[in-house]
């Protein structure tokens, strides 16, 4: 099946499995992450154990509380990719884990996420102030 024929859900599942299989859970990405020291739930966590939990999340398992906290803490700093000795796109791996703990694939969310239910209306309200009618017609 060509990627363009896949749904996003299938694409996330396929790439989750691919990256989980390639990841050795060595924990170098975890050690490099600037959010670890800023996340109280990770205070007593060990890098290899957390990353083993991340692999579980990517493989459709629940994941440990520490792994869920780490996935939920991801803010896309991207330093994990530079740190990965396997040269994996660790930032993408963590992005997928983050999407999954947020419930993107239909599971109950495992972390609290910020969602603005009036985002679209808010964007349009600002546009009515900052753009001319013609600009809104052509640009939005």
């Amino acid at each position: 099946m060509r990627p363009s024929e896949q749904t996003l859900v299938a694409y996330i599942r396929d790439n989750s499995a691919r990256l989980a299989a390639a990841c050795t859970a060595c924990g170098e990405c975890y050690r490099a992450c600037p959010m670890v020291a800023r996340t109280p739930a990770l205070a007593d966590a060990t890098p290899a154990a957390v990353m083993a939990g991340i692999r579980d999340i990517l493989n459709d398992a629940q994941g440990t509380p520490e792994a869920i906290a780490f996935a939920g803490a991801c803010v896309r700093s991207g330093v994990c990719t530079e740190a990965c000795p396997e040269k994996l796109d660790a930032a993408f791996l963590m992005r997928l884990a983050s999407l999954r703990v947020k419930g993107a694939l239909g599971d109950p969310p495992r972390v609290t996420t910020k969602h603005d239910p009036r985002w679209s209306a808010r964007v349009k309200a600002f546009a009515r102030l900052t753009m001319t009618e013609q600009e809104r017609t052509e640009w939005l």
Binding site: S4, T7, L8, L99, F126, W139
Partner: protein, 286 residues
Amino acid sequence: MALNPDTSVTFWYGCNMARHGEIVRLVTQILSAVGVEAAPAGGPAYCCGSPQEANARIAAGMAARTVEKFNEAGRAKVVTWCPSCHMNMDDLMAPVTEAAFETQHITQLLAARANTLHPLLVNPVPARVLLHAHHGFNGRVPVNTDVPNLLAMIPGLTMLDHPLRVPAHMCSAIAPKPGELARAHLETLDAMQETGADTLATVFHSCHRDAVSLERARPIRVANWIHLLADAMGLPYTDEYKVWRNADDPRAAIGEDRIVASGDVAFAQLVEPELRRPPIISNGIP
């Protein structure tokens, strides 16, 4: 006939850039000045799916629609602004819905045309500038190098170095984490003091909308990098969001006629609370 991707592009400015219409306008003017005609596209109709990322099915529908609209527009290049949009296009959108265009970030395009841009930067901008740099996105697009290199071409402007890199790809990602945005702002102010900077150059819109209130804490200027290029090119603009955000009374700063014309109820419910939100830090006090 296919449009030449070197001279005719879509400028995908994202959604929350609607707060900064002047930046969209200035980018199109700057691109035109370096020989690229840009058709801006953004807002909810061109969503990358990010606001609905907790539901992949909804996000997928929004993302597919956006890719299809860009395909239909017939321009072979989509120039991005927002790092979330850019990474979503690379990572989740184009791999799922076939894209008939290449993607390039605005910083990459202008860096590639630096030789054309340089002679247009004629007005001195006396400023000691620190870049508001993040860790994220720089591994994908070297914004932390390209933006300072572009700004350093401005006469009178001095770019300053500091190792501070705020986590995330832009401030909206750390904003929901308790205390993190305040910490980032305090560290940024400290870095400005250490380097003797008088101007903070933001790269992205979400950083800019939060950082502008730092002007209330210290005697500094907060400007987006596009504003600084515009200053040097003599392009007129007003950073209205900053004016409104830092006004004692945003309603008065905007004017009732304009508010009524834009929709008073929507303004009161959707815009005004954000503009009246207290600054993350104030008057230098943590």
